[in-house]
Symmetry: C2
């Protein structure tokens, strides 16, 4: 495909929207003329407005700190609003973090069980001290067409020519060995070490690409249906997906599994969000701060 | 503690039971006199009989293949009844596998969603062809006092002198660096590579040891209550426990996390089960076949 991908088309459309709306919702001070400010809610609503079927009645994409009516001085996009990312955002005079994953260590960001926990309390008070808003953009960015996280990853891998419009987890790349594929993934996504199951000499062309932690049943069901040469995931449950792949190989299937690590596998989604911010709110400073992979290997 | 651990006492008690019951429930042919056989159900019931509060009305510890009334020719204990382990068991003339984890890639061994999957069908048919029974012993072995898996791990680590009877996840070991601790874990448990978060030079004495995948909330809650120098887990959700430890360190806590890998972290539990079989059913051949860690690192 040499034509524009849907992603690129969407950006052009987004830019159009931004230009029009900047007349309606100007931000800050321009040419000495005071103009309206942009709030946390303005940014959230603009993004949600691009998502089919949104807003969702049930979603984890809620404000984890701050308020909708807070005037935005700057935005940081990231995978995780870690304490480190919060400190960096504050030092950049940004007061709005758009994160992809939970702030408080569980999918629903339930904090009742953490009320006595000093790590939670420290983080909560830090966010209050800095008057920082945090919004999780998970369900919405994944429901965007194309999925903003997937698109960010594919851009980095330079696989836009290889995706199948019928199934955006399915790619047919020029054949390479599993070893070469791992090197390409590591280099493109800035990963030091991956876990894998497979023969480094196996030829890989049919790829099932599933960044993040989409769950054992979904990973296995898609693998079962697609029969790829290799399944690439962000995170898995070892006793689910890894054991399925191990048994498939024992049965005689030529199939491999590469586990990239959750943060590294979806961080390009926060680069996508920074690009979206720049296109839609060009007057607001935006910085993509990768949360980075927390693990070392030894 | 130089005295016998509860584990050792239990084995002596178990041996006593075995000696007594072998008069009641003899097995095979002895001295030309035909004697009663041992069934899958006999072994399951004997084990369950040692567990407080058992049998449980709700448990994942069900027969995954075979029948309770099947006469046992030999037993294999393992973490996962992989296709490879099934083949090895059959070659040893064993027809009963006691596994710790699921056979069919999900916690409840629900197979309805796998009815069209050829890996599942191959494994199911292989088990039928070999007339092999598979029992999951997860909830029961963890509820035994002491937890049979934890005890197996502690035996390998030679930490029986260091556990706290009030909390068997808590150990106070002679201080060593995180780097040395990792080397000790790898050597004792036969692990090639671990993932970790922390400073290799950190001094570690207060250990929270949680083999397996006990879940983010339990791992975090115990860490919050215990404030260990290092949390050692089998498997985690990266966006839960790893992010909590990362934030705790950013806050200033001197704490580390070591992730051993699920299979390696609990495989000593299947060695424990082989020992239990030998003590309780000395006439039945038993072999511990480690499922091994499926992952390579690159």
């Amino acid at each position: 495909m040499k034509e524009l991908t849907p992603n690129r088309r969407m950006f052009i459309k987004s830019l159009g929207v931004a230009s029009a709306s900047s007349l309606l919702l100007p931000s800050g001070v321009f040419g000495g003329i005071p103009i309206w400010s942009t709030t946390v809610g303005d940014i959230i609503d603009r993004f949600i407005g691009e998502v089919s079927g949104a807003p969702f009645s049930q979603t984890v994409d809620t404000l984890k700190a701050g308020r909708r009516d807070m005037e935005v001085t700057g935005v940081v996009t990231t995978m995780f609003a870690t304490i480190d990312v919060i400190e960096k955002a504050h030092s950049l005079n940004a007061n709005f973090i758009i994160a992809h994953e939970p702030t408080f260590y569980n999918h629903l960001d339930d904090t009742e069980w953490l009320e006595q926990d000093d790590v939670y309390l420290y983080k909560k008070e830090l966010l209050e001290k800095y008057a920082m808003s945090v919004w999780r953009n998970h369900d919405y960015v994944h429901t965007l067409y194309p999925d903003g996280v997937q698109q960010g990853v594919v851009d980095r891998l330079e696989w836009n020519d290889y995706f199948d419009p019928d199934n955006r987890n399915r790619y047919r790349i020029p054949a390479m060995t599993l070893e070469s594929l791992i090197e390409h993934l590591k280099k493109s996504l800035g990963i030091k070490t991956v876990r894998y199951i497979g023969n480094p000499d196996q030829s890989c062309s049919r790829i099932l690409l599933m960044p993040g932690a989409s769950g054992g049943r979904r990973q296995i069901s898609l693998t079962s249906a697609e029969k790829p040469d290799v399944l690439i995931c962000g995170e898995i449950s070892e006793w689910e997906t890894a054991e399925y792949i191990r048994d498939a190989r024992s049965k005689g299937d030529s199939i491999s599994l590469i586990v990239l690590g959750h943060a590294d596998s979806e961080e390009p989604g926060s680069a996508f969000m920074a690009e979206w911010m720049g296109a839609n709110f060009p007057n607001i400073p935006v910085t993509n701060i990768p949360a980075t992979n927390p693990f070392s290997f030894r």
